[in-house]
Protein backbone atom coordinates (compact mmCIF):
# COMPACT_ATOMS: atom_id res chain seq x y z
CA UNK A 1 0.00 0.00 0.00
CA UNK A 2 2.79 2.37 0.97
CA UNK A 3 4.75 1.56 -2.18
CA UNK A 4 1.69 2.14 -4.36
CA UNK A 5 1.21 5.55 -2.77
CA UNK A 6 4.84 6.47 -3.32
CA UNK A 7 4.72 5.40 -6.97
CA UNK A 8 1.47 7.31 -7.48
CA UNK A 9 2.96 10.44 -5.93
CA UNK A 10 6.09 10.16 -8.07
CA UNK A 11 3.98 9.67 -11.20
CA UNK A 12 1.93 12.79 -10.48
CA UNK A 13 5.07 14.77 -9.74
CA UNK A 14 6.77 13.50 -12.90
CA UNK A 15 3.73 14.29 -15.03
CA UNK A 16 3.54 17.90 -13.89
CA UNK A 17 7.33 18.41 -14.14
CA UNK A 18 7.30 17.11 -17.72
CA UNK A 19 4.20 19.19 -18.48
CA UNK A 20 5.87 22.39 -17.28
CA UNK A 21 9.14 21.51 -18.98
CA UNK A 22 7.66 20.89 -22.39
CA UNK A 23 5.54 24.01 -22.13
CA UNK A 24 8.66 26.20 -22.20
CA UNK A 25 9.51 27.32 -25.69
CA UNK A 26 13.21 26.55 -25.76
CA UNK A 27 15.03 28.09 -28.70
CA UNK A 28 12.19 30.43 -29.60
CA UNK A 29 12.65 34.18 -29.34
CA UNK A 30 9.85 34.51 -26.78
CA UNK A 31 9.32 32.04 -23.96
CA UNK A 32 5.81 33.31 -23.47
CA UNK A 33 4.32 35.06 -26.46
CA UNK A 34 3.41 38.71 -26.13
CA UNK A 35 5.87 39.57 -23.36
CA UNK A 36 9.30 41.04 -24.03
CA UNK A 37 11.97 38.68 -22.67
CA UNK A 38 13.74 40.01 -19.60
CA UNK A 39 17.17 39.25 -21.06
CA UNK A 40 16.74 41.89 -23.78
CA UNK A 41 15.93 44.54 -21.19
CA UNK A 42 18.91 43.51 -19.05
CA UNK A 43 21.36 43.51 -21.97
CA UNK A 44 20.11 46.86 -23.25
CA UNK A 45 20.14 48.50 -19.80
CA UNK A 46 23.62 47.14 -19.01
CA UNK A 47 25.15 49.06 -21.90
CA UNK A 48 22.80 52.04 -21.99
CA UNK A 49 22.30 53.20 -18.43
CA UNK A 50 24.78 51.24 -16.29
CA UNK A 51 27.80 51.44 -18.67
CA UNK A 52 29.14 48.08 -17.50
CA UNK A 53 30.83 45.78 -20.02
CA UNK A 54 30.39 42.52 -18.08
CA UNK A 55 26.68 41.71 -18.28
CA UNK A 56 26.92 38.92 -15.69
CA UNK A 57 28.22 41.37 -13.08
CA UNK A 58 25.52 43.91 -13.81
CA UNK A 59 22.83 41.26 -13.36
CA UNK A 60 24.36 39.71 -10.24
CA UNK A 61 25.11 42.97 -8.42
CA UNK A 62 22.62 45.48 -9.77
CA UNK A 63 19.45 43.88 -11.13
CA UNK A 64 19.63 40.92 -8.74
CA UNK A 65 21.63 42.60 -5.98
CA UNK A 66 19.25 41.48 -3.27
CA UNK A 67 19.88 37.83 -4.22
CA UNK A 68 23.61 38.42 -3.89
CA UNK A 69 23.07 39.80 -0.39
CA UNK A 70 21.19 36.58 0.38
CA UNK A 71 24.05 34.45 -0.99
CA UNK A 72 26.56 36.32 1.14
CA UNK A 73 24.32 35.74 4.16
CA UNK A 74 24.13 31.99 3.39
CA UNK A 75 27.93 31.78 3.22
CA UNK A 76 28.22 33.74 6.46
CA UNK A 77 25.78 31.35 8.20
CA UNK A 78 27.64 28.28 6.92
CA UNK A 79 30.96 29.64 8.19
CA UNK A 80 29.40 30.54 11.55
CA UNK A 81 28.00 27.02 11.99
CA UNK A 82 31.37 25.46 11.06
CA UNK A 83 33.14 27.73 13.53
CA UNK A 84 30.71 26.88 16.30
CA UNK A 85 31.09 23.13 15.66
CA UNK A 86 34.88 23.20 15.61
CA UNK A 87 35.27 25.90 18.26
CA UNK A 88 38.36 25.70 20.43
CA UNK A 89 39.47 27.93 23.23
CA UNK A 90 42.48 30.06 22.56
CA UNK A 91 44.90 28.09 24.71
CA UNK A 92 43.85 24.79 23.16
CA UNK A 93 45.00 25.91 19.71
CA UNK A 94 48.56 24.72 19.72
CA UNK A 95 50.95 23.30 17.22
CA UNK A 96 49.02 21.37 14.62
CA UNK A 97 50.17 17.87 13.81
CA UNK A 98 52.37 17.67 10.73
CA UNK A 99 53.70 14.43 9.30
CA UNK A 100 56.87 16.05 7.99
CA UNK A 101 57.93 19.69 7.69
CA UNK A 102 58.10 21.24 4.24
CA UNK A 103 61.42 21.64 2.49
CA UNK A 104 63.12 24.98 1.93
CA UNK A 105 62.11 24.95 -1.76
CA UNK A 106 58.43 24.82 -0.80
CA UNK A 107 58.71 27.55 1.84
CA UNK A 108 60.74 29.90 -0.37
CA UNK A 109 58.49 29.24 -3.37
CA UNK A 110 55.29 29.90 -1.47
CA UNK A 111 56.78 33.09 -0.01
CA UNK A 112 57.40 34.25 -3.60
CA UNK A 113 54.00 33.13 -4.88
CA UNK A 114 51.88 34.47 -2.02
CA UNK A 115 51.92 38.20 -3.00
CA UNK A 116 51.27 37.31 -6.64
CA UNK A 117 48.22 35.20 -5.71
CA UNK A 118 46.84 37.95 -3.46
CA UNK A 119 47.38 40.47 -6.27
CA UNK A 120 45.54 38.22 -8.73
CA UNK A 121 42.60 37.90 -6.33
CA UNK A 122 42.45 41.66 -5.78
CA UNK A 123 42.64 42.22 -9.56
CA UNK A 124 39.79 39.77 -10.18
CA UNK A 125 37.41 41.49 -7.76
CA UNK A 126 38.41 45.09 -8.49
CA UNK A 127 37.91 44.51 -12.23
CA UNK A 128 34.69 42.55 -11.70
CA UNK A 129 32.67 44.97 -13.84
CA UNK A 130 35.17 44.96 -16.72
CA UNK A 131 36.41 41.39 -17.08
CA UNK A 132 35.18 37.91 -16.09
CA UNK A 133 35.26 37.31 -12.38
CA UNK A 134 34.01 39.16 -9.36
CA UNK A 135 33.83 39.21 -5.62
CA UNK A 136 33.31 35.51 -5.00
CA UNK A 137 36.04 34.35 -7.37
CA UNK A 138 38.54 36.94 -6.12
CA UNK A 139 37.80 36.06 -2.50
CA UNK A 140 38.37 32.34 -3.12
CA UNK A 141 41.67 33.07 -4.90
CA UNK A 142 42.82 35.10 -1.87
CA UNK A 143 41.82 32.24 0.42
CA UNK A 144 43.89 29.78 -1.64
CA UNK A 145 46.89 32.11 -1.23
CA UNK A 146 46.50 31.92 2.54
CA UNK A 147 46.06 28.15 2.24
CA UNK A 148 49.45 27.94 0.48
CA UNK A 149 51.12 29.82 3.33
CA UNK A 150 49.36 27.67 5.96
CA UNK A 151 50.54 24.48 4.26
CA UNK A 152 54.11 25.66 3.76
CA UNK A 153 54.73 27.07 7.25
CA UNK A 154 53.72 24.92 10.22
CA UNK A 155 53.27 27.80 12.61
CA UNK A 156 51.88 30.42 10.24
CA UNK A 157 48.86 31.85 11.96
CA UNK A 158 46.04 34.15 10.90
CA UNK A 159 44.56 36.54 13.43
CA UNK A 160 40.93 35.61 13.98
CA UNK A 161 40.17 39.10 15.30
CA UNK A 162 41.45 40.73 12.11
CA UNK A 163 39.46 38.28 9.98
CA UNK A 164 36.22 38.96 11.82
CA UNK A 165 36.77 42.74 11.71
CA UNK A 166 37.38 42.65 7.94
CA UNK A 167 34.38 40.40 7.42
CA UNK A 168 32.02 42.55 9.51
CA UNK A 169 33.18 45.80 7.89
CA UNK A 170 32.67 44.33 4.42
CA UNK A 171 29.19 43.08 5.32
CA UNK A 172 28.26 46.46 6.80
CA UNK A 173 29.54 48.18 3.64
CA UNK A 174 27.36 46.00 1.42
CA UNK A 175 24.21 46.59 3.50
CA UNK A 176 25.06 50.28 4.00
CA UNK A 177 25.47 50.93 0.28
CA UNK A 178 22.17 49.18 -0.24
CA UNK A 179 20.48 51.35 2.38
CA UNK A 180 21.96 54.55 0.89
CA UNK A 181 19.91 53.77 -2.20
CA UNK A 182 16.78 54.51 -0.15
CA UNK A 183 17.97 58.06 0.42
CA UNK A 184 18.82 58.72 -3.23
CA UNK A 185 16.57 56.71 -5.49
CA UNK A 186 13.89 55.04 -3.44
CA UNK A 187 14.75 51.31 -3.62
CA UNK A 188 17.23 49.05 -1.88
CA UNK A 189 20.57 48.81 -3.76
CA UNK A 190 19.57 51.59 -6.15
CA UNK A 191 22.49 52.86 -8.24
CA UNK A 192 23.00 56.40 -6.98
CA UNK A 193 26.58 57.14 -8.06
CA UNK A 194 27.43 58.52 -11.52
CA UNK A 195 28.07 55.68 -13.95
CA UNK A 196 31.00 57.31 -15.76
CA UNK A 197 32.51 56.19 -19.05
CA UNK A 198 32.19 52.58 -20.16
CA UNK A 199 35.33 50.38 -19.81
CA UNK A 200 36.91 52.75 -17.27
CA UNK A 201 37.99 51.42 -13.89
CA UNK A 202 35.83 54.02 -12.09
CA UNK A 203 32.54 53.27 -13.79
CA UNK A 204 29.36 51.38 -13.08
CA UNK A 205 28.23 53.33 -10.00
CA UNK A 206 27.98 51.16 -6.90
CA UNK A 207 28.96 47.88 -8.61
CA UNK A 208 32.75 48.08 -7.90
CA UNK A 209 32.14 49.11 -4.28
CA UNK A 210 29.84 46.16 -3.65
CA UNK A 211 32.15 43.70 -5.39
CA UNK A 212 35.18 44.90 -3.41
CA UNK A 213 33.17 44.41 -0.20
CA UNK A 214 32.06 40.92 -1.31
CA UNK A 215 35.66 40.02 -2.21
CA UNK A 216 36.99 40.99 1.22
CA UNK A 217 34.11 39.19 2.94
CA UNK A 218 34.46 35.91 1.04
CA UNK A 219 38.26 35.96 1.35
CA UNK A 220 38.13 36.47 5.11
CA UNK A 221 35.41 33.83 5.61
CA UNK A 222 37.11 31.11 3.57
CA UNK A 223 40.50 31.82 5.13
CA UNK A 224 38.85 31.34 8.52
CA UNK A 225 37.31 28.05 7.34
CA UNK A 226 40.66 26.69 6.12
CA UNK A 227 42.41 27.79 9.30
CA UNK A 228 39.77 26.16 11.52
CA UNK A 229 39.71 22.89 9.57
CA UNK A 230 43.51 22.63 9.45
CA UNK A 231 43.80 23.05 13.21
CA UNK A 232 41.18 20.41 13.96
CA UNK A 233 42.81 17.42 15.61
CA UNK A 234 42.03 14.03 14.08
CA UNK A 235 40.32 11.15 15.89
CA UNK A 236 42.50 8.28 14.72
CA UNK A 237 45.95 9.53 13.81
CA UNK A 238 45.93 13.23 14.57
Amino acid sequence: MKKVLVILLLAILGYYTAFTFFGIGFGQPHFVSGIQPVKDIYLAQTVKSLKVSNAVTSIVVNFRGFDTLGEVTVLFLAVTVLGSLLYKKRHEVGQRSVLFSSSSIVTAGSKLLFPAIILLGVYVFVHGHLSPGGGFQGGVIIATGFLLMLLAYENYSVSHTALSIVESLAGITFAGVGLLGFMHGGTFLQNFLPTGVMNNLFSGGIIPIIYIAVGFKVGAELTGVIYTVLHEKGQSNG
Binding site: P132, L147, I226, V229
Partner: protein, 94 residues
Protein backbone atom coordinates in the same frame (compact mmCIF):
# COMPACT_ATOMS: atom_id res chain seq x y z
CA UNK B 1 33.47 20.06 -36.06
CA UNK B 2 36.76 19.71 -34.19
CA UNK B 3 35.20 21.86 -31.46
CA UNK B 4 32.35 19.40 -31.10
CA UNK B 5 34.77 16.45 -30.94
CA UNK B 6 36.79 18.22 -28.23
CA UNK B 7 33.67 18.81 -26.14
CA UNK B 8 32.64 15.15 -26.57
CA UNK B 9 36.09 13.92 -25.47
CA UNK B 10 35.94 16.17 -22.40
CA UNK B 11 32.48 14.85 -21.52
CA UNK B 12 33.67 11.25 -21.82
CA UNK B 13 36.69 12.01 -19.62
CA UNK B 14 34.36 13.55 -17.05
CA UNK B 15 32.14 10.46 -17.01
CA UNK B 16 35.19 8.20 -16.71
CA UNK B 17 36.55 10.24 -13.78
CA UNK B 18 33.20 10.11 -11.97
CA UNK B 19 32.93 6.33 -12.42
CA UNK B 20 36.49 6.00 -11.09
CA UNK B 21 35.59 8.16 -8.08
CA UNK B 22 32.67 5.87 -7.24
CA UNK B 23 34.50 2.57 -7.73
CA UNK B 24 37.79 3.51 -6.04
CA UNK B 25 38.21 2.25 -2.46
CA UNK B 26 41.08 4.60 -1.63
CA UNK B 27 39.30 7.83 -0.73
CA UNK B 28 42.30 10.04 -1.53
CA UNK B 29 42.27 8.86 -5.15
CA UNK B 30 38.49 9.35 -5.28
CA UNK B 31 38.88 12.96 -4.09
CA UNK B 32 41.53 13.58 -6.74
CA UNK B 33 39.13 12.19 -9.34
CA UNK B 34 36.41 14.64 -8.23
CA UNK B 35 38.98 17.42 -8.55
CA UNK B 36 39.66 16.31 -12.12
CA UNK B 37 35.90 16.37 -12.80
CA UNK B 38 35.78 20.00 -11.63
CA UNK B 39 38.82 20.89 -13.75
CA UNK B 40 37.29 19.44 -16.93
CA UNK B 41 33.98 21.08 -16.07
CA UNK B 42 35.65 24.48 -15.80
CA UNK B 43 37.32 23.97 -19.21
CA UNK B 44 33.90 23.07 -20.61
CA UNK B 45 32.35 26.21 -19.12
CA UNK B 46 35.09 28.24 -20.76
CA UNK B 47 34.53 26.57 -24.13
CA UNK B 48 30.79 27.20 -23.80
CA UNK B 49 31.51 30.93 -23.32
CA UNK B 50 30.81 31.27 -19.61
CA UNK B 51 34.15 32.55 -18.25
CA UNK B 52 32.62 33.81 -14.99
CA UNK B 53 31.32 30.36 -14.07
CA UNK B 54 34.59 28.80 -15.25
CA UNK B 55 36.56 30.98 -12.82
CA UNK B 56 34.22 30.07 -9.96
CA UNK B 57 34.42 26.36 -10.75
CA UNK B 58 38.22 26.45 -11.04
CA UNK B 59 38.70 28.31 -7.76
CA UNK B 60 36.10 26.54 -5.62
CA UNK B 61 35.78 23.09 -7.21
CA UNK B 62 39.41 22.38 -8.01
CA UNK B 63 41.25 24.14 -5.22
CA UNK B 64 39.13 24.68 -2.14
CA UNK B 65 36.81 21.64 -2.05
CA UNK B 66 39.60 19.20 -2.88
CA UNK B 67 41.84 20.63 -0.16
CA UNK B 68 39.09 20.50 2.46
CA UNK B 69 38.34 16.86 1.54
CA UNK B 70 42.05 16.00 1.73
CA UNK B 71 42.31 17.57 5.20
CA UNK B 72 39.21 15.62 6.27
CA UNK B 73 40.70 12.35 5.01
CA UNK B 74 43.92 13.10 6.87
CA UNK B 75 41.93 13.55 10.07
CA UNK B 76 39.72 10.45 9.62
CA UNK B 77 40.35 7.22 7.69
CA UNK B 78 41.79 6.82 4.24
CA UNK B 79 40.37 3.50 3.04
CA UNK B 80 36.68 2.90 2.56
CA UNK B 81 35.31 0.39 5.06
CA UNK B 82 33.17 -2.21 3.31
CA UNK B 83 33.05 -5.10 5.75
CA UNK B 84 29.65 -4.41 7.30
CA UNK B 85 28.10 -1.92 4.95
CA UNK B 86 24.69 -3.61 5.00
CA UNK B 87 24.51 -3.69 8.79
CA UNK B 88 25.53 -0.06 8.97
CA UNK B 89 22.86 0.87 6.45
CA UNK B 90 20.22 -1.08 8.34
CA UNK B 91 21.11 0.53 11.66
CA UNK B 92 21.16 3.96 10.02
CA UNK B 93 17.71 3.42 8.56
CA UNK B 94 16.31 2.26 11.90
Amino acid sequence: MIYFILICILFLLMIAASVYAIVQKDLLYAVMATGIISLILSILYYLLQAPDVALTEAAIGVALTTIIFVITIRNTVRMEDETDKKEKFKSAVK
